[in-house]
Amino acid sequence: MTSVDPNGITLQASGLTKHFGGLPALHEVAFVARKGRVTALIGPNGAGKTTFINCLTGVLRPDRGSIIFDGQELFGLPSHRIARLGVARTFQNLRLFARLSVLDNVLCGLSTTAGDSFLEAFLRTPSLRHRERRLRLAALEALDIFGLAGRADWRAHALSYGERKRLELARAFVSGPRLLLLDEAVAGLNPDETERIGTLIRQMQRNGATLILVEHDMDLVMSVSDHVVVLDGGRRIAGGPPEDVRRNPLVLQAYLGKISLTA
């Protein structure tokens, strides 16, 4: 094990608080994701995991707290600005662009490099053509990695559920983000597909990606994570290496209810 390197921190959230009306969804949550590591965020349903991810990516605006990403404060930035800093994500309930082709979906994942000048787009300048060719190749390569090479021209809505999950991963992965947030990447998948996505995640990890994994599948969490953070009722109740968290009585209690010691 390498020692804790303060420079290895990609994302550090502290005191993150979010209320929906009077309902506390997140309360003073602290969280650290280290460079090149997989950090898992677990907790029972309603623990605030997705709210946390939505606060990190600007989909929701937190009430209080701070989110430092590569030395920059993300608090209060709109979603697209955060994406342009190199934060990519998937969504718990698949959000593909159903009417676009599979290839175009992945190309949308490259929006930050595709440029947003209307004038350049209208004139279809040589540099834009060149860039479009390059992006197309990158997208096709990502489709190949995620086992969707034969589906490039399909409309996204024609894909099977497992293929859609992989397409979302490909779309988030293709830009080579500095931080990738996967919100329940294997929810609702059969064991074969789960294994397939587990392999892809391990592959990304080996290639040095920094990942935050929100996950219910404990086998996957235990096998790929370097660090696990547990939320319950909007509060952080534990954090540490997977094997420690697994034995933590607070975590067991959150998942299974209070354990009586009378037996």
Binding site: G58, H80, S111
Partner: protein
């Protein structure tokens, strides 16, 4: 060039070659069609097509709605009319100045209204159209009131006036082809994909780095710019402008053209403009009940060909061809 190389060249430059093919076909039309009345209808189609292309980017690609584009069309027409008649500005600078002003108006109008969507956006744009139309009718001193403005000179390029239906035809269809090319370029870029993405899911598009708010305002402005140029050319073509041409029913006609041609299908915009412009002439004795016929056609299209006339027909032909060729392959195997 060897056959496979030629095939891949055609495949790679499909869009460009289609535009060139269409331009060639269109340029031959006046040689066979001498009737100025028929050319006049074709010229109107070109003018409408310019507006519809822009509106299709806004409605079909970016998934928004506007029932107020006749206002931009009208502002373009009145802008050019006023500048050329009252201030003797040459047509080209007048058109450019007007379009810049209209684009600025679109930013100012769009910034607050594009926070709305669906029915609310439809009502807001409709309201804008009503306001602009009222200004045309009421501001007598500048707009000539209900009788409008006349004596607008024909369009001129480098001091050469474009006169006669044939020359007008080349001017207007030339302009329409330029706007078709620009629009086709836009949708085949990252900007175009961003618009298609925000049309489907704004939260998700933003998570990909698409600035949703800016994108919507920009495409609204672009469509207003197109409409303004169309309006300027319309004013020079007609020589007169009256407020009635730019009321809310004209806006609805433009939306009908987009829907009939196919939302998000730019080639279809040409078809939509052509069908709706031709329709009154084809109806003959039924012309009085034109609104009923329009309504029925739109309902029928939405029920039977929801993606629009051209897009669905092309898809049908493609699947027929695919089935035909696979049947042929089975036959030879």
């Amino acid at each position: 060039m060897s056959p496979p190389a030629a095939a891949s060249y055609i495949a790679r430059h499909r869009t460009g070659l289609s535009v060139i093919g269409l331009c060639l076909a269109l340029s031959l039309v006046p040689l066979r069609l001498a009737d100025p009345w028929k050319l006049g209808i074709l010229n109107l189609i070109a003018l409408h097509a310019i507006v519809v292309l822009g509106l299709n980017l806004f409605i079909g690609y970016a998934g928004q709605i506007s029932l107020g584009h006749a206002a931009f069309f009208g502002l373009g027409a009145y802008g050019s009319a006023i500048l050329t008649t009252a201030f003797a500005v040459p047509p080209l600078p007048a058109m450019t100045l007007t379009a810049a002003g209209v684009a600025l108006t679109a930013v100012v109008v769009g910034a607050p209204t594009l926070r709305l969507s669906g029915h609310y956006l439809a009502m807001a744009t409709l309201g804008f159209n009503v306001v602009v139309h009222n200004v045309f009718v009421q501001w007598d001193r500048v707009t000539g009131g209900p009788s409008g403005l006349s004596g607008i000179p024909p369009f001129a390029v480098l001091g050469l006036a474009v006169q006669g239906e044939v020359r007008q035809y080349y001017l207007l269809w030339g302009a329409a082809m330029i706007f078709l090319t620009l629009s086709l370029n836009l949708i085949r870029s990252g900007v175009g994909r961003g618009l298609a993405a925000l049309a489907e899911d704004e939260v998700c598009a933003a998570a990909m780095g698409v600035d949703v708010r800016r994108g919507k305002i920009a495409v609204f402005t672009v469509s207003a710019f197109f409409a303004s140029i169309g309006g300027s050319l319309f004013a020079h073509y007609m020589g007169t402008v009256t407020p009635d041409t730019f009321g809310i029913f004209a806006s609805i006609d433009f939306v009908i053209m987009v829907v009939i041609g196919g939302m998000g299908c730019l080639w279809g915009s040409l078809a939509g403009a052509a069908i709706v412009t031709l329709l009154p002439h084809l109806l003959g004795p039924l012309e009085d009940s034109k609104d009923i016929v329009y309504g029925l056609i739109v309902v029928a299209i939405l029920l039977v060909l929801p993606r629009g006339f051209l897009a669905e027909i092309v898809d049908l032909a493609k699947s027929r061809l695919a089935r035909g060729s696979s049947a042929m392959r089975r036959g030879t195997a």
